[in-house]
């Protein structure tokens, strides 16, 4: 819960709500980009960010993203986060 996970911003989905789509370890997840937006949201597309409970908190470079992901995998945190994302999706449908 306390560690962010790297994700790549792939599209802006709702500029008014500062929402974008990020790809995290092959999983797509809507994230809020208010904390990293410094200009038009489109400029963020293609960049990597540290994503924490659905909020992009810092822009990082690709090398840092790869190293962080490897460290998180080593701790089992990457899998835990992906499972939490899946649980969140299921909760929206009232399934769990």
């Amino acid at each position: 819960m306390c560690l962010g996970i790297p994700g790549q911003i792939v599209a802006v989905t709702d500029a008014a709500r500062m929402m974008a789509m990020a790809e995290v370890s092959g999983v797509r997840r809507a994230v809020n980009v208010a904390c990293i937006a410094q200009g038009p949201l489109e400029d963020l597309v293609g960049h990597w960010a540290l994503i924490h409970v659905g909020f992009a908190m810092a822009v990082i470079d690709e090398d840092e993203a790869a190293k962080t992901l490897e460290a998180l995998r080593g701790l089992g945190e990457a899998q835990e986060t992906l499972e939490a994302m899946a649980a969140g999706d299921a909760a929206l449908e009232g399934q769990i």
Binding site: M1, C2, A34, G88, L92
Partner: protein, 378 residues
């Protein structure tokens, strides 16, 4: 050097470990008279055990595991209040999965869910907002838990709910802040700490200056660190070098992610939505001044404490810890987890008695998971 081989760059790890050994010897730290370095963040605690860093560094270095696991410091009375809220038939109670198994005095959220309460595990407060949009006839409460890394997410969610006029969304705020418990530990006459490894992702939000008091007022070094094992070793070395040189400074080993002044958007949202409580209870540490946050009156409509009359302290306070649970002594570094009479007996990750066994970031769970021969060696 068994574990060092697992590092992404074993040669770099060995070079850092050699330097750590040199400086440890130079400052005269020994097994009998070790330097005690506290890693504040639970993520760091987890990484230290996962990579066996506590066994790779010289005996003259002792890692003291700090209070940086929000699930672990959550008082039992607050868990009871969560269960009370969740059992209200109007409520859909949403929470991070980490909080589900924390024992309350009556039951955990997991048990409450099994008993029929509508409790949903979410990844983000954004999920809770969406559940509120889709269920206008229900009250959706989000369990706001965590340090400064998660606080901006609930602040921004409350702002979003206010902007949309989403009246069935509220947050049960249990956010806490890192600096006050560090000050409390430094003021504790029984606690002897020689330096700190500072949290990485918390500092990404707040920057490095909230730690200035550690160096300035207490004369202790602190180095903000990343999460890779090499980051941690580098940071430990930087703390030791400060001790060797007679310096006490706030240094930033993780500058590639942590800006000196933090994240301005996050800080503005937190300041807009939250204000410090006069004091807040920490499991194992007691009440600590200005260590918790509450929702400002301007956002009272989104404050579950106000909306449901829970308040802070309205429920039974000072719920005693379970019989034989030594979480408090472990939390303050007085004893190692294996010295607790319940460790591995009445308290395991499957059936936790104390909070430190619940989360993978808790010191007891880390000892249990990676302990084995290590636990016997302590």
């Amino acid at each position: 050097m068994k574990y060092a081989d697992e590092f992404r760059d074993p040669r770099a790890a060995r070079a850092l470990l050699d330097k750590i050994a040199d400086v440890t010897a130079a400052i005269g730290a020994t097994a009998e008279n070790p330097k005690r370095i506290m890693e504040i963040c639970g993520g760091h605690t987890h990484a230290i055990f996962r990579y066996g860093l506590d066994k790779l560094v010289p005996e003259g270095l002792d890692f003291i595991h700090g209070p940086g696991c929000p699930v672990c410091v959550l008082p039992m009375a607050r868990v009871d209040e969560c269960v009370e809220l969740a059992e209200d038939p109007r409520v859909i109670f949403t929470t991070f999965g980490d909080a589900m198994r924390v024992p309350g005095s009556r039951k955990s959220l997991l048990q409450a869910k099994a008993d029929g309460a509508d409790i949903r595990m979410v990844y983000s407060p954004l999920d809770a907002l969406e559940i509120a949009r889709r269920n206008p006839e229900r009250e959706v409460v989000f369990f706001g838990l965590g340090f400064e890394t998660t606080t901006p997410s609930t602040a921004l969610s409350i702002q979003a709910a206010a902007a949309e006029g989403l009246e069935n969304f509220s947050v049960f705020c249990n956010h806490i802040t890192v600096p006050p418990p560090i000050k409390a530990l430094l003021d504790d006459p029984y606690m002897r700490l020689d330096g700190f490894v500072g949290p990485g992702h918390v500092s990404m939000v707040i920057g490095i200056h909230p730690y200035d008091f550690i160096a300035r007022d207490y004369g202790k070094p602190i180095v903000v660190a990343g999460f890779e094992p090499l980051d941690l070793l580098q940071s430990v070395l930087m703390v030791l070098e400060q001790i060797r040189d007679g310096r006490a400074e706030v240094e930033n080993q993780y500058a590639r992610v942590v800006p000196e002044h933090g994240n301005p958007v996050s800080l503005a949202a937190m300041a807009d939505v939250y204000e410090p409580r006069p004091s807040f209870e920490w499991r194992g540490l007691g009440e600590i001044d200005a260590s918790g946050l509450r929702i400002r009156p301007a956002y009272a409509a989104y404050d579950a404490e106000v909306k449901f009359g829970v308040g802070y302290g309205a429920a039974r306070r000072n719920v005693p810890e379970p019989e034989g649970c030594a979480c408090g002594a472990v939390m303050t570094g007085r004893i190692k987890p294996v010295a607790c009479p319940q460790f591995g007996r009445g308290c395991t990750p499957e059936m936790p008695l104390g909070a430190l066994m619940v989360s993978s970031e808790g010191a007891c769970a880390a000892y249990y998971q990676y302990g084995g021969a290590r636990a016997e060696a302590v």
